[in-house]
């Protein structure tokens, strides 16, 4: 049924080798022959079977991507970057959704390992030991996790935290809550180190709350706790949580940004669509996806070359100031000062 290289060979009256070369090493075949082959291939709608190629060359032209949850806008944006870049370099992507389960993460890379040239692991939650067992199975690139000798694309979350805190400090906030996400999150850790480093120099007191689930509901839940600590500003683990905070605040009648300022992380699409658009630290999600496939491919080319191997690629983050941050009102500031 499907048209193979043999059909093309027959049609162009050459051997399969020639057809193969016409595609993969064009200047080794006579121009006229090549034209003929390509034309026949076109007519027949022939496309080489990458799987078969993979068997012999070890390079399939496929790359795998594993995400904890495709439906999470943070990861779907990242995935978008991966697919877009992959297409540009004529690769195809294998996708696996780990359903937020660390065990399936390991399992799925096993399932695709043989069919891909390498795998991009987006914010893997899996245990370091499991990760270690995967090394050697297939080339790996991590996004937002820094482990052993593995190449990784890292977003400068710590610096993002600094930017956010400086912004709040400049507005006059002196007491701000930080809502942590999942305990196992590398990005979360980074934010904490950034925050702790910046707090003294900004002269602001930070109240660390959490961990909370990094969801809308997590934000709703956290908002009340933050409020109880009498802060004038809230730094949420991500935009989803920030939106939850916003909602809860509105429900309780506290005005944003006059009573309380709110800052998120990520800058997902939704952030600019809220009734009062969200100030947030933009994470370069799509760029991260692109960078990861580039890194993967670079490492593949480098081959066994020992000194050209694993690298980290740092991507900058940037504070996007919108409308949920402003100087605290007199009242709010006073209450915060009272430390209530």
């Amino acid at each position: 049924m499907a048209v193979t290289i043999h059909d093309v060979a027959k049609g162009a009256d050459v051997s399969v080798s020639t057809v193969s070369r016409a595609f993969t090493m064009p200047d080794m075949v006579n121009a006229a022959t090549r034209r003929k082959v390509l034309q026949v291939a076109e007519e027949l709608g022939y496309q080489p079977n990458r799987a078969a190629r993979g068997l012999v060359t070890g390079k399939t032209g496929n790359i795998g991507v594993v995400v904890p949850d495709v439906a999470n806008p943070f990861f779907s944006a990242m995935l978008k970057g991966c697919t877009a870049r992959a297409r540009e370099v004529r690769h195809v992507v294998f996708l696996a959704d780990a359903a937020e389960d660390p065990r399936v993460e390991a399992e799925v890379v096993g399932a695709m390992a043989k069919q891909v040239d390498g795998v991009v692991l987006c914010s893997p939650r899996m245990h370091p030991d499991h990760l270690a067992r995967l090394v050697g199975t297939t080339p790996l690139v991590l996004i937002n996790r820094d482990e052993a000798g593995l190449p990784a694309v890292l977003m400068d979350s710590a610096d993002g935290a600094r930017q956010a805190l400086e912004h709040l400090a400049a507005l006059g906030h002196r007491r701000v809550a930080h809502l942590a996400g999942p305990a196992a999150s590398w990005a979360g850790e980074q934010r904490l180190v950034g925050l702790r480093a910046a707090a003294p120099v900004c002269e602001v007191e930070t109240i660390e709350l959490g961990p909370f689930p990094p969801t809308f509901q997590g934000g709703v839940q956290a908002a009340d706790l933050a409020l109880a600590r009498g802060v004038t500003a809230i730094l949420a683990f991500n935009d989803l949580m920030a939106v939850g905070v916003l909602n809860r605040l509105a429900a309780r009648g506290v005005a944003v940004p006059s009573d309380v300022s709110v800052v998120g992380y990520d800058d997902i699409e939704m952030s600019s669509m809220t009734t009062v658009p969200l100030t947030t630290v933009r994470m370069p999600m799509e760029a991260g996806g692109r960078a990861a496939v580039d890194l993967l491919l670079d490492n593949l080319d480098a081959g066994a070359d020992p000194d050209a191997t694993p690298t980290r690629r740092w991507l900058p983050t940037q504070l996007i100031v919108r409308s949920t941050t402003a100087p605290p009102s007199q009242d709010a500031a006073a209450r915060a000062l009272a430390g209530r």
Copy 2:
């Protein structure tokens, strides 16, 4: 590097045939032998190369999924359904993002055709002719598009429109705007037919506006047009647009739902997170993805069996009433009656 069936065979001191059978036809091999083989395989971390299997059996255990845009929550939910179901039936998915470009759609299915058992096309925008050319290349299943003899999973958008309109009519609305999405959308057409059928029986006058881009901005833009026509309710093509409408309405100081009611379609996550939660027609996106892979697999099993082939699978839609719909205020109703 990678461990092959030969390594296992050597390790277990049997032939490759036996190893192969131990995996694919377990009861054809002696229990003791099988145990040994499986154990060695486990130790070595062996996983069969599905690509190689595909070459000889014609069944790779991979399925392809093509979406117009992974970052669109509607499609990422659908994709989630596909990956989840695929995993349950021990398949792996190939993903392609067509970047909303009808031409890439065709191209990418070509690129994966040989490596997958079949392809799920989510709301393909491509021209019927191109679609026709793809048939025969590889088994296909459509989601939200009804074409020629192709198997498809269809969501009952028309009925959703009816539900929405009946709801509004019952609340007392007599003049409602419908904001159309992209002209080429099958779902969009369906909604219109549902709407036009329901309007007379509900005794409501519908104002058809559009097409608009199915985005937040599209909604912002459309809101003013709808307002100018003096309607008391707005039916938006999807939730993204509905949120845009909500935003614009808020900006212009018109109260939702007292002045104007708003209804969306899809029920993406965001819909329940808006300051006033959105009433919307839920589309079973994840279920649609799951149904599509089931349909694909069923058709594959049916094989060439001619009467067991293409089918349509209809999925119901359901109105989710939240807080953006209510009876129109006296004022609003009067203005609408005046037809302004």
